[in-house]
Amino acid sequence: MAKVWRVIALALIVFFAVGPLLWMVLSSLRPADQLFVSDPSLIPSGFTGEWYREVFASDALQWFANSLIVAVFATLISLVVGTTAGYAVTRFTFPGRRLLLIGLSVGYLFPAILLLVPLYLVLSSLGLVGGLTGIVIAHVTITLPLATWLMKSFVEAVPRELEEAAWVDGLGYFRGFLRVTLPLLRTGLATTAMFSFILSWDEYLFASVIAQGDNVTAPVAMAGFVTSFDIRWGAIMALSTLVTIPVVVLFFVLQRYYEKGLTAGGVKG
């Protein structure tokens, strides 16, 4: 009997978690005459691709391309800078190390909204408001602390003796890092890249303030869709499905590695 209740409770919770997502996908495939009724049936009697066609005929591809470019650059910068910094603070003692660690924790915890005004002022004085470069820089403020934090914990897991042997062999610090440590950090790098990418792909606040004209990212453009008078829910659900797919696919492909990233705050808020 206890087992039956357990299965029922589990089914309810799974339904709560997945139901909205199934509804999103179903709605994106539902013909208009079945979408805008006051008593929608659970399963549509027919499917349509018209919403996806409509989305692809609009500027959506441009928005997704922008999001992709921003996320890739923000991820690359955070990965390079975060890995070297994570390496520095775990392997070496040097003046300023403590300060860097404190800055890292503050940056990691710092809520984005508190950075909005000053970051906007700095970017606008540099003439970077409106373009993708400005969005990349803004996203790095979010992804870099996470990347450094994650890479620090991955470097800690690599045995020190390997590098020391390399140093003794006369490989030098930098080449020792490149040839010995870096290959051992592969899974760490994959995890960190995935979560940096998700954070940037997901980000709305900074992008909504910085992006202008053709340079909007997908979340910003999608948010603008709803405020218009005639809400095209079919197209909106198609867009939502499209913006969700890359993240969920990444998540399942890299599922072996996700736990550390998630618990380290791979998704803020």
Binding site: S38, V117, L119, Y173, Y204, T244, F251, V267
Partner: protein
């Protein structure tokens, strides 16, 4: 005795320190440029009265800060923010705990159930907001129309669109989005509980409830504290979900600090005042964090 710092010396220590500094340099520069400097700027800006539209800027001293106390909108916003934070965290932790207990079994396929339950946490927040807006749409939304059919909601109304329910609806969506994280943290912690404790309890004739109460819960204490600290800060100042779901409305009924600041910057262009709210909120969080940290330190000392 030389006064030369070690990193300038020629020995091994000197070389190692230089290597460390070289590896840290890019991050140090970036942190300084995009975090430290803006935070300093934020404080400086808060001392000015700035209008982005006209470009006027004049020194206001602490004027922006004293204006905080006379801001009636801010007061109800702070109350909402506290409700939002407490409600979201309580919901996420309770549902997360229930889910963690349910997936903590060696049934076949449980790994997949765990994966599936984690999905809401990685769905982009824009998609989350749009899905729920659609389901809660007053005319065609599946949830709203069913609630209306059951007589729990007036016809044509969305729970996001009426003042009495908007905040709680936004909280519900945040629970949907955040409970998988709590589940993961609890579940991971449960895996490290010594199974012998349960066997010993069973020998003593303990029931499932007593096992949960006396073994599982005490072992999850540290996880709960960590969750509350981290998620507490992020939820307190979380912007995206509230903004995208309700824009803080209707009539400010779901306004939280983050959306309030955003509106003052983007809607009213009063940058100095927004910076003052941000700085005050930042200071408040820091103070609360310090007190919590000191508390755990003191506790550790008296216990050990």
């Amino acid at each position: 005795m030389t006064l030369r710092p070690a990193f300038l010396s020629r020995g091994l220590t000197g070389r190692q320190q230089r290597a460390g500094m070289a590896f840290a340099l890019p991050a140090a520069l970036l942190f300084a440029a995009i975090l430290a400097y803006p935070i300093f700027e934020s404080f400086r800006t808060s001392l000015y009265s700035i209008d982005l539209l006209t470009g006027d800027a004049s020194f206001a001293g602490l004027g922006n800060y004293s204006a905080l106390f006379g801001d009636a909108g801010l007061r109800s916003t702070v109350v909402n923010t506290l409700l939002w934070t407490v409600g979201s965290l309580a919901g996420q932790i309770l549902l997360g705990l229930a889910a963690a207990l349910l997936i903590d079994s060696d049934w076949k396929g449980m790994r997949w159930v765990r994966q599936i339950l984690l999905i809401p946490y990685v769905v982009p927040v824009i998609a989350t907001a749009l899905i729920w807006q659609w389901m809660l749409d007053g005319h065609y939304g599946i949830l709203s129309t069913n609630l209306q059919g059951a007589g729990l909601l007036e016809t044509g109304v969305s729970p996001l669109g009426q003042e009495s329910t908007s905040l709680w609806t936004v909280i519900l969506v945040n629970v949907w989005r955040g409970f998988p994280f709590a589940m993961l943290v609890f579940w991971a912690r449960m895996q490290s509980i010594d199974r012998e404790q349960y066997e010993a309890a069973r020998v003593d004739g303990a029931g499932a409830w007593q096992e949960f109460r006396h073994i599982t819960l005490p072992n999850l204490r540290s996880a709960v504290i960590a969750l509350l600290a981290l998620r507490g800060i992020w939820t307190l100042m979380y912007f995206e979900l509230v903004w995208l779901l309700s824009r803080g409305g209707p009539a400010g009924s779901s306004e939280v600090l983050a959306t309030y600041i955003y509106k003052i910057v983007m809607g009213e262009f009063r940058v100095g005042y927004a910076a003052a709210i941000a700085t005050a909120a930042g200071l408040l969080i820091t103070v609360i964090g310090l007190i919590a940290w000191l508390g755990t330190q003191l506790r550790r000392r008296t216990n050990g």
